[in-house]
């Protein structure tokens, strides 16, 4: 009996900790969302109360949507995130495959070199990157952001994916070689489907910092037509007056796409885990 009680306490404690963490993590998001539906006065009077008939207002959303550029910012963010994500996953998986599958001189060294970026923040190189972009005429283009984010995401992607790929059965790939599959087909048809859960993990870890980033859009692409949503939302934050309704509404809207992507990837993740690998 003692044991059962013990494990009950333990599981209760675990759940309590997880629940507390969930509340803490969700709190700011919930505050943003509920306040985005309130009038300016109500936001300041009682920031934690839900919108009621008096305080309910869509003024923030109206402001945001009336600002014609907002859809453009949205589109920019989406393009930058999705394209960078695609390149990170593609190049990351390719590099990881080469590192895990082939024996060549300097393999380990190359792996370490490629993983170095995990420890060194890419922002340290901002000045050099900016000079590079100016020299190549890429300032104020989405391409500049995509290049930088691809570079930023690759180290972690390569690190995680090559670990996963090392664990795949070598016999499976050899069976493919005997059946006449080219190395590309082995990579695309055998290896990629089997590391899908790892790809989903990498996708989530890569996508969120890109979507949320303010630094590089501000420095590399601040022009009106290349602004991302996080940068676009800054127009409502003034030095003297801040349009809180609009800021909160813009942020609430910005959560949506990333949430959709997250749901897609996490489903892949769960499917990958439950499908069970076949040995």
């Amino acid at each position: 009996m003692a044991k059962a009680t013990h494990s009950l306490t333990r599981s209760f404690a675990a759940h309590a900790i997880l629940a507390a963490y969930t509340v803490i993590a969700l709190f700011p998001v919930v505050v943003i969302i509920i306040n985005s539906f309130k009038s300016r006065k109500a936001i300041f009077r009682s920031p934690l109360s839900l919108p009621d008939r008096d305080s309910f207002s869509l003024i923030g959303y109206e402001t945001v949507l009336a600002q014609g550029d907002f859809f453009l910012y949205f589109q920019n963010s989406l393009i930058v995130t999705v394209v960078s994500l695609f390149f990170v996953l593609l190049f990351g998986a390719m590099a990881a495959f080469a590192l895990s599958e082939y024996r060549f001189r300097g393999n380990t060294l190359m792996g370490l070199y490629l993983a170095l970026g995990i420890m060194i923040p890419i922002r340290l190189g901002t000045v050099a990157i900016l000079k590079l972009m100016v020299a190549s005429g890429l300032v104020n283009t989405l391409t500049a952001l995509i290049l930088v984010y691809t570079a930023q995401g690759l180290p972690l992607a390569i690190f995680i994916l090559s670990e996963f790929m090392r664990q795949l059965s070598a016999d499976l790939k050899d069976a493919g070689r005997i059946d006449g599959l080219s190395e590309y087909r082995i990579f695309l048809r055998l290896v990629l489907p089997l590391v899908r859960p790892a790809m989903a993990t990498v996708a989530v870890f890569t996508m969120i910092p890109i979507w949320n980033d303010l630094w590089f859009p501000l420095i590399l692409a601040p022009a009106e037509e290349t602004k991302t949503i996080t940068l676009g939302a800054q127009v409502f934050i003034g030095q003297f007056v801040t349009n809180w309704n609009a800021v909160l509404s813009a942020l609430s809207l910005a959560i949506l796409p990333v949430l959709v992507l997250y749901v897609i990837f996490s489903r892949q993740l769960i499917r990958g885990i439950t499908a069970g690998a076949v040995k």
Binding site: S169, D171, L172, D174, A175, G176, R177, I178, D179, G180, L181, L190, P193, L194, A275, G276, A277, V278, K279
Partner: protein
Amino acid sequence: MGSLVLENIRKSFGQVEVLKGIDLEVSDGEFVIFVGPSGCGKSTLLRVIAGLEDATAGAISIDGDAVGHLPPSKRGIAMVFQTYALYPHLSVRNNMALGMKQAGQPADQIAERVAAASKMLSLEEYLERYPAELSGGQRQRVAIGRAVVRNPQLFLFDEPLSNLDAALRVNTRLEIARLHRELGATMIYVTHDQVEAMTLADKIVVLNNGVVEQIGSPMELYNSPANMFVAGFIGSPQMNFIAAERIGRSDAKTVGIRPEHISVDRESGTWAGNVLHAEHLGADTILYMETEAAGLLTVRLFGEHKFNAGDRLYATPDEARIFGFDDAGRSISG
């Protein structure tokens, strides 16, 4: 149509030389088994033949053509792996068909071959299933079926039975033997299990530490082992080795006698000793004896015997079946 010649095959991984000059000739239709302890290079040799590894030196020809430069799919071989290595996202049918599809064969021919192979291996019911929905034995049959469909000149098996349980292992062994008779193809089979080697092979290649110790038929290896390694590796329980001087022989450094070539008696015999342990297996009785003259001996008696631990017995070797080995462990033919 499926002969194989290896000439002085060498393979190193970095500084480590794993294969140290292997010469071998396999004639068409032969069932050849590579046997040896774990880590001796059997799989590496098989992978070199398959083209999955490049030999560091040496020449390989299949059916008279040098194939050293060809990729695995162009060598006319098929391989069955220890871990089955089925494609998890393809049905059994597509697992078997993939190789032919990849080679661009016409669909009706593929369907025909898949049907024939699945009939041969009783896999018809499972064609639409996925590997995850099959048992271990079924998966290995699918893997064998996938090899059969390719219609190779040369089959390569790498320890195909070692992930199966004992009963299934015997069944699948019989199935592979039947397959060899029906297809008449050349087969090379790797195992560390000498029983598998003895039961299946036309010809056994005993490997140790990257060199060939001996090549011969199962009975040649049993009756005239080339050296102590082969003598000890082939046969179960293992051959008894006795330092020659202990038993007063000067014509060899070591003498060997198989457990089944020793008889025992309660009254008289060559070596007196006590039984340490007796194993009663029904068909056999295995005795472990500590003798004064010859040290620890394993004795295998046929049928049931009422000997037990602690009994005092006399062991007598069959003189005609005693092997002598010289200083280097080589067999002294006598």
